[in-house]
């Protein structure tokens, strides 16, 4: 079954590809000038993986410094830069490009389109994002400016005013931070517009919105969502630059400006941003869990409703990051309630995934292992999220290592795990070769163990009063044992990621030939060749359900009968 060619009738141009060898320069030229959604998707992905390694290296430095008390591995200034760059990199240069990597590569294939709606805008968005990232890292060189102070940004990725104003952050580091994120932010807006226009205007015949694979649904909601999520950050960074360069007073507390206004603006962006980042994980999980449980997604309409519900509720919860700034008790209570409401659609998603697995025949290939770990870790992250939403308890937990543990459970335990899952799942489609299952299992188990060593224990050191952002801690606090374990776990994760990188590269050249449909899957991207031709489908496909290949493979029992 697996290797059988299963194209839509007439969907493939079977004329052999031109045999001509391309020179390196020609290849490079074709990638730099491309407007093809698949190449751009892969470039987004390569950008993410590159910055994941950079941000990961920063994390390793952080963990070495904190492994023992009173360490002098790096200076406090360097440490502050490391965690600021780590956070900024992981959110804006890894997480955000990943959204567009998946959306670019998979969505047009899944909805039977030949490309995104605006291919040139697509390329423009990618290059903005990439140059924004390079610009941010140029701060290591350009940051000192004329003042001879600082290099990379060192104000945390929240960049709370007034610490970011000229008076407290001279030099150019903070400007690099703000400008780089404005630039990547424009790239994000372009990408978001492209996704929604693609999904609304480019679907193949028969694919009504409620016949879109859930992956595409989630990316569609995500694309629309980033438009209102990233823009408040762009606006407030413009304000920050006005303060820094034009002598404005938005956040200048000496001239009547307000520090809390920055907090509100930042978190109006910052909290929904977490959902922007985690939506691709939901999207991938919805595909992987279906295919490896051999069952249709349980409660498709409820899943669509839940994802929209999460997006809506999450724009009204931002101040749960601000329970300690002295809001009124009624304000605190409101944000407790709105935050906990997010748990309801999130719960629906987890239960529906479980119900999808219920009664299936679960195959434990590497993508599914990551997906199962994702389910477990996402559950835990949701539960620690409930703890953090309890405002009085949040007064203790906020800004502690418990929070670090909680959001890394989302960012690593959910997102990174599902990104790995998705790469193992779609790598055969993008390259035509399978990734090594043996290395994949090593990668999974080492990463799983390292993850839990690091982030499980972090919760406890948070209970013990260890705040985040500290470059060192006194020996008499009793935090050293846990911190050592955390650091060891970090190293194990680092090793696992190196195994993954090796697997990625070696499989690219030596992996088993995959065929068009190695997982026996049900969505349209598996109906074309691996890798797909530039035009994706030679004739436009026509579908009657959200699992067109299931209908094709099971004409006796097609999905559309239950539509």
């Amino acid at each position: 079954m697996a290797d059988q060619t299963l194209p839509i009738h007439g969907a493939l141009d079977l004329t052999p590809p031109r045999e001509r060898e391309h020179t390196l320069l020609e290849t490079l030229h074709s990638w730099v000038t491309t407007v093809d959604h698949k190449k751009l998707g892969l470039m987004y992905m390569m950008m993410s993986i590159f910055f994941l390694l950079v941000g990961g290296a920063e994390a390793i430095f952080i963990r070495i410094q904190l492994a023992v008390p009173n360490n002098h591995f790096v200076s406090p200034q360097t440490f502050n830069r490391l965690f600021t760059m780590h956070g900024t990199t992981m959110v804006f240069l890894v997480g955000m490009p990943l959204v567009f990597a998946w959306a670019n590569y998979i969505v047009p294939l899944q909805i039977g389109a030949r490309d995104m709606a605006f291919p040139r805008l697509n390329a423009f968005s990618f290059w903005l994002t990439l140059f924004g990232g390079l610009f941010l890292y140029y701060s290591f060189i350009g940051g000192p400016g004329l003042y001879g102070t600082g290099s990379a940004p060192d104000v945390t990725w929240w960049a709370y005013a007034p610490l970011t104003l000229k008076a407290f952050s001279p030099g150019h580091a903070t400007d690099y931070w703000a400008l780089a994120l404005i630039v990547t932010g424009f790239g994000t807006i372009g990408g978001g517009i492209n996704i929604i226009a693609t999904v609304i205007s480019m679907r193949c015949k028969g694919m009504t919105l409620m016949r879109m694979p859930l992956f595409s649904w989630v990316m569609f909601v995500d694309g629309a969502f980033v438009l209102i999520v990233i823009t408040p950050l762009t606006a407030s960074q413009v304000m920050l630059l006005i303060d820094r360069y034009l002598g404005g007073h938005f956040f200048d507390t000496q001239a009547g400006g307000s520090a809390t206004v920055w907090m509100h603006f930042f978190w109006i962006f910052g909290h929904p941003e977490v959902y922007v980042l985690v939506f691709p994980a939901f999207a991938i999980a919805s595909e992987v869990i279906q295919v490896f449980s051999r069952k249709a997604l349980f409660g498709y309409p409820a899943m669509v409703a839940a994802i929209i519900g999460i997006a809506f509720v999450s724009v009204s919860v931002w101040a749960h990051h601000m329970f300690t700034i002295g809001m009124t008790s009624a304000g605190n209570a409101f944000f407790v309630l709105s935050t906990e409401l997010v748990g309801i659609p999130t719960g629906i998603k987890i239960f529906n995934w479980l119900a999808t697995m219920w009664g299936g025949k679960i195959r434990f290939a590497t993508p599914m292992l990551f997906a199962i770990a994702f389910l477990f870790q996402f559950l835990c992250a949701g539960l620690t999220g409930i703890m953090l939403s309890i405002a009085p308890w949040n007064w203790q937990l906020h800004g502690s290592y418990f929070v670090i543990a909680h959001f890394h459970y989302i960012l690593v335990g959910a997102i990174v795990f599902m990104v790995f899952s998705g790469i193992y799942y779609w790598f055969p489609k993008a390259t035509g070769r399978m990734m090594s299952e043996t290395l994949g299992k090593w990668h999974f188990w080492l990463f799983f163990i390292g993850f839990h060593l690091t982030f499980d224990t972090m919760h406890f050191v948070g209970f013990e009063g260890m705040p985040r952002w500290i470059y060192t801690y006194p020996a008499d606090r009793g935090w050293q044992n846990i911190n050592l374990v955390v650091s060891i776990g970090g190293l194990i994760q680092g090793i696992a990621v190196l195994i993954f990188a090796y697997n990625l590269i070696s499989s690219l050249f030596k992996g088993k030939i995959a065929g068009n449909d190695p997982w026996d899957a049900w969505t349209l991207e598996w109906a074309t060749t691996s890798p797909p031709p530039v035009y994706n489908f030679a004739t436009d496909p026509v579908v009657r359900s959200w699992r067109p290949l299931w209908d094709l493979k099971h004409p006796e029992n097609p999905d559309w009968k239950y539509d």
Partner: protein
């Protein structure tokens, strides 16, 4: 199995999806609205919080002429949209040029207002919170007017050289959508800055 096409019922069935340019513009408008919302919230929050003058009451005059010009440009661009849909290219060009003229008058009016504020009243972006929020919000809107005018002018040049045809009416309407948005934002900015904040 290979021969089974994914289409089972009549291949002739209707399949219409919205024009992608329009959807893209709606996306841009949503994003821009969020940016303006943040600036408007900042403006409203900081009303009356300046530690020193000048205050809006002392220096701001309500820009009636400006507002009339900009709002009527929405009508002229609507008339030109209708003209191109009816393949009346000459009328289209006239109304389009009128739109540009009205937009330019608005910009010049803003320039005169700012000149007075800076040189006569001594209000700059760094003077106080009012200056900071006023120039940011009004300036952000004016920037959008400038961008709009540039794009409108490009279309006008194409019209004059005879490159704009009836078949471009959908694209022209997408651009007009942006112009309507810029006008609508002015209603909000005008209300907040010159009525509520003054």
């Amino acid at each position: 199995m290979n021969a089974i096409p994914l289409v089972a019922t009549s291949p002739e069935q209707e399949w219409h999806l919205p024009y992608k340019g329009r959807i893209g513009m709606y996306g841009l408008i949503i994003a821009e609205s969020a940016i303006f919302t943040i600036f408007v919230i900042a403006y409203i929050y900081y009303i009356g919080k300046s530690l020193y003058g000048p205050t809006p009451q002392q220096v701001l005059d309500v820009p009636i002429v400006n507002t009339i010009c900009l709002l009527s440009s929405s009508i002229t661009i609507f008339l030109s949209e209708r003209a191109i849909e009816r393949n009346n290219l000459k009328t289209f060009g006239l109304w389009w040029a009128a739109t540009i003229a009205l937009g330019a008058i608005f910009l010049i009016g803003t320039g005169i207002e700012w000149h007075k504020l800076i040189y006569h009243d001594g209000l700059t972006i760094s003077t106080n919170l009012f200056g900071t929020t006023f120039y940011s919000l009004v300036g952000l809107h004016a920037t959008h007017v400038v961008v709009g005018l540039i794009m409108l002018t490009i279309v006008l040049l194409f019209t004059l050289t005879g490159h704009v045809k009836h078949e471009h009416s959908e694209r022209v309407q997408v651009l007009a959508l942006y112009w309507h948005f810029v006008d609508a934002v002015w209603v909000v900015v005008f209300t907040v800055v010159y009525i509520v904040g003054r």
